[in-house]
């Protein structure tokens, strides 16, 4: 196993983590769009409480992914930024507006004011647009149709990243984010003593999950001709993983149906990991099919080694910090520094 492959596996794990955490933050924004009627204020408060403390940290996984990619595969990164200039620029605008609008609406003094309403709309719309274009960009890479020749890329004007296949995958990404968020929000709503909201999000999670599954199936059906190389890899290597992915999806739905929200949360995280894992497995050993491989775009091994050492040291500080953050806001386990009242509250609701 080459050191570049090892680094790619770590980057892929970071991608999965970003999808599971950052994706859910986008999903929460999407549900904000559907927050109407009398219970809107409740729903928005729940969403603010759920993503407020963690969204900035979740967002950093994307930064980590980008700098990791351009350190380990500098030439592949340069090709992607040229070829996918348009969707990535839209993604960037989406990310900026999402973050800024969320913070503006949270700190707007009067939550029912007109400007708070405008920021809420910007927040939810950009939360919808960003995962869509991230999905179409991923599909464009997987399709193997990006115009790359002799180490130079041409900017794609939409023929590849806005093909029916790419649109299907983009929509699937949106649906998956919405499912993730809805499942998490069932847990959050029960934690904050809002059983009605928990039921609402249970229904939504089931619907969004079903849509994700349908879109995923549509994507698979298109693959043999829209992304032939990916399809071949899938048949050759990833078939068992794809089948497991489908089974996990069914298990998530069943757990939601029986209102085992915490277990469903674990299952939907696994589901996301398996979706991305089967993509990676099908595409191996190509970074950008059909020409750019792990081997022909990897950086000098000494640089990758230095990066891996730094990642190991960094993670030794990062992971305990991250665990602390999630323990204080999301997990029921006691940690030092958490006030007793908060611990008592979480103990009670998790029982």
């Amino acid at each position: 196993m080459s050191i570049a492959f090892l680094a790619l596996c770590i980057l892929w794990l970071a991608l999965i983590t970003y999808a599971v955490l950052g994706g859910a933050d986008f999903g929460a924004g999407i549900w904000d769009l559907f927050a109407v009627g009398e219970r809107r204020r409740h729903q928005r408060k729940l969403i603010n409480q759920a993503i407020g403390p963690v969204w900035e940290a979740n967002h950093v996984w994307l930064i980590f992914l980008i700098v990791g990619l351009f350190t380990v595969f500098p030439s592949a990164f340069a090709l992607l930024t040229v070829a996918l200039f348009i969707p990535l620029t839209i993604v960037l605008i989406g990310i900026v507006l999402r973050g800024a609008a969320f913070i503006f609406r949270t700190y707007e003094l009067d939550a029912s004011s007109r400007s708070a309403e405008v920021w809420s709309r910007i927040f939810s719309t950009s939360s919808l647009i960003t995962p869509f274009f991230l999905g179409t960009s991923a599909a464009a890479v997987a399709s193997g149709q990006l115009a790359i020749a002799n180490g130079n890329a041409t900017t794609d004007l939409g023929a590849v990243w806005f093909s029916p296949f790419a649109i299907t995958i983009g929509l699937m990404a949106v649906a998956l984010c919405a499912t993730l968020a809805a499942v998490y929000l069932t847990v959050e709503a029960s934690l904050y003593g809002e059983p009605d909201l928990a039921r609402t999000y249970r229904t939504r999670a089931l619907i969004a999950g079903a849509i994700t599954a349908v879109l995923g199936a549509l994507g698979l059906l298109q693959s043999p001709f829209a992304a032939p190389q990916l399809w071949d890899g899938l048949i050759a290597r990833a078939l068992p993983v794809v089948i497991i992915t489908m089974l996990i999806g069914l298990a998530t739905a069943a757990l939601l149906y029986w209102r085992r929200y915490r277990l469903a949360r674990i299952m939907i995280i696994l589901e996301t990991a398996f979706v991305l894992g089967s993509w990676g497995l099908s595409q191996y050993p190509y970074l950008i099919p059909p020409h750019v491989t792990i081997a022909n775009s990897a950086n000098d091994p000494s640089v990758i080694l230095a990066l891996l050492i730094s990642i190991a040291v960094g993670m030794a500080i990062l992971l305990p910090s991250l665990y602390y953050l999630f323990s204080v806001f999301k997990l029921p386990y006691p940690v030092p520094g958490k006030t007793e009242e908060v611990q008592a509250l979480t103990d009670e609701t998790s029982r």
Binding site: G52, P53, V54, E56, A57, H59, V60, L62, I63, F64, I66, V67, G68, F70, T71, V72, P74, F77, A78, T81, V82, F85, L88, V91, L92, I93, I95, V96, L97, G99, A100, F102, I103, F104, Y107, E108, L109, W119, T154, T155, N299, D300, S302, V303, A306, L307, S310, G314, I317, L318, S321, L322, Y324, L325, V328, F329, G337, K338, T339, V342
Partner: protein, 459 residues
């Protein structure tokens, strides 16, 4: 606009915008940490009130810093793919390490801003330490990349390919200690004086309470400690440039001809066409003394370099003198304020003219950051990586850069407008009651007059 110009305009706007928030992101956490520490130590409600106020502003400023920083990390690739291919191979490591530092900052920021009721007072205060430490670390890592662009190291360029890469050597390149320390200090200077300016403004409008006075003195302490160190660091930078990047120093000082006993030109218009500096105030032998410590030392002028390798001389010289001017003005204000304190002349510290001076220093310090950054960027042109990659060859081939630049310019305008509006409204909002960790009853701010009279009686 040409592709190159549009790319430069977009990158320049993005950096000019982001640098404000990154400086505050480094400086404000230290103020929060000190203020909360003082509140807990002296069980003082007004320190706690200040901490809560600053934390609110910090939440908004940091979020804008995070999103504008994301723009930059994308733009490195979207606008300068050739640069990123080259730089990613060599200095990807400090970028990744900066990512980690940012991660730690974001995690503890979440704990700090949302953890008031979930963490014990001491645990909450402890959470402020990783924020300012990792903020400093971020600044160091990112600026080490800029240093590398000025004095590239840690690789061999052979047959159009980068080989024999040593990422550690690249990160610790010759310019790193000079540039990084200068940037880190600038964050404390700017944040200190900017926060002081806010409270000087309130005091000028008659709100002379213990609360405002505490905020002013803490901010002035941070700014006034940082500014003399910053001037010493600036001097070290200039000496370093005299040997490492003489063309940059020549552009900063407007030196066109190599000579000995070179005067220091303060201000003026450095014209590269006539190779003269107009309307400058000249200090005889000044530059030779400052750069080399000898009045007759030889200073390399721009004539030692081919014309098409010259930096953007006029802008570099003006930016440099503007930065230095702002820095010395801040030094004067800081020294005066604490001199009066030492002589126990509180009335002079609070004097209208003193407060007006502080009010002016706030924006000037941020102007100094912007100008200092322009010095290093204009002074490095026409190169993006000195000696290896010209800026003109680094821009993307993607179409529609004009549209992209216009879109981002619009976004920055929108964000600035919304941010200023929100911060002003926050500043004007009445103080909500806050929970004090050492008392069962929430504390409500008693209003301006009451506290002023008791405080004054004590003086």
């Amino acid at each position: 606009m040409s592709n190159l110009l549009a790319a430069r305009a977009q990158m320049g706007t993005s950096l000019a915008f982001h640098i404000i928030f990154s400086a505050l992101g480094v400086g404000l956490p230290l103020l929060l940490c000190i203020a909360e520490g003082l509140a807990l130590k002296y069980k003082d409600p007004s320190w706690m009130l200040l901490t809560r106020r600053w934390a609110k502003a910090a939440a908004i400023l940091f979020a804008i810093g995070a999103v504008s920083g994301t723009i930059l990390s994308f733009e490195l690739g979207l606008l300068w793919p050739t640069y990123t291919k080259f730089a990613g191979a060599v200095v990807g490591l400090p970028f990744a390490l900066e990512g980690f530092a940012f991660f730690i900052e974001a995690i503890f920021l979440g704990l700090y801003l949302y953890g008031w009721d979930r963490l014990s007072p001491r645990a909450h205060w402890f959470c402020s330490f990783p924020i300012w430490i990792s903020g400093l670390a971020s600044a160091w890592f990112i600026v080490s990349v800029n240093s590398w662009m000025n004095t590239p190291a840690g690789f061999v360029f052979k047959n159009g390919k980068v080989v024999d890469i040593n990422p550690w050597q690249a990160m610790f390149n010759p310019a790193t200690p000079y540039e990084t320390i200068h940037m880190m200090l600038s964050c404390y200077v700017a944040t200190g004086f900017a926060v002081a300016a806010v409270y000087a403004f309130s005091m000028l409008r008659g709100k002379r309470t213990a609360y405002h006075w505490k905020a002013l003195r803490l901010a002035m302490a941070v700014g006034a400690i940082a500014i003399p160190l910053q001037i010493i660091s600036g001097d070290a930078n200039a000496r370093f440039l005299a040997t490492a990047q003489p063309y940059k120093l020549a552009a900063m000082e407007g030196v066109f001809h190599t000579a000995s006993g070179v005067p220091l030109s303060i201000g003026g218009w450095a014209d590269p066409n006539t190779q003269k500096v107009y309307y400058a105030f000249e200090v005889p032998y000044g530059l030779s003394i400052l750069a080399k410590g000898d009045p007759h030392a030889t200073i390399k002028g721009l004539d030692a370099y081919p014309r098409n390798d010259w930096p953007i001389v006029t802008a570099t010289h003006l930016s440099f003198d503007g930065m230095v001017g702002a820095g010395f003005f801040a030094l004067l204000i800081g020294v005066l304020f604490w001199y009066f304190a030492w002589r126990k002349k509180r009335a002079w510290q609070e004097h209208r003219w003193m407060l007006l001076g502080i009010l002016l220093t706030g924006p000037l310090s941020f102007l100094a950051i912007e100008l200092g950054w322009m010095v290093t960027e204009f002074g490095r042109q026409p190169w993006v990586i000195v000696g290896y990659l010209r800026t003109a060859n680094a821009a993307t081939t993607a179409p529609g850069l004009n549209i992209s630049f216009s879109l981002f310019a619009l976004i920055y305008l929108l964000l600035s407008f919304a941010l200023i509006r929100l911060l002003l409204r926050l500043a004007r909002a009445p103080f909500p009651p806050i929970k004090l960790p050492w008392s069962a009853t929430p504390y409500t701010y008693q209003g301006d007059q009451a506290e002023t009279s008791t405080e004054r009686a004590g003086v």
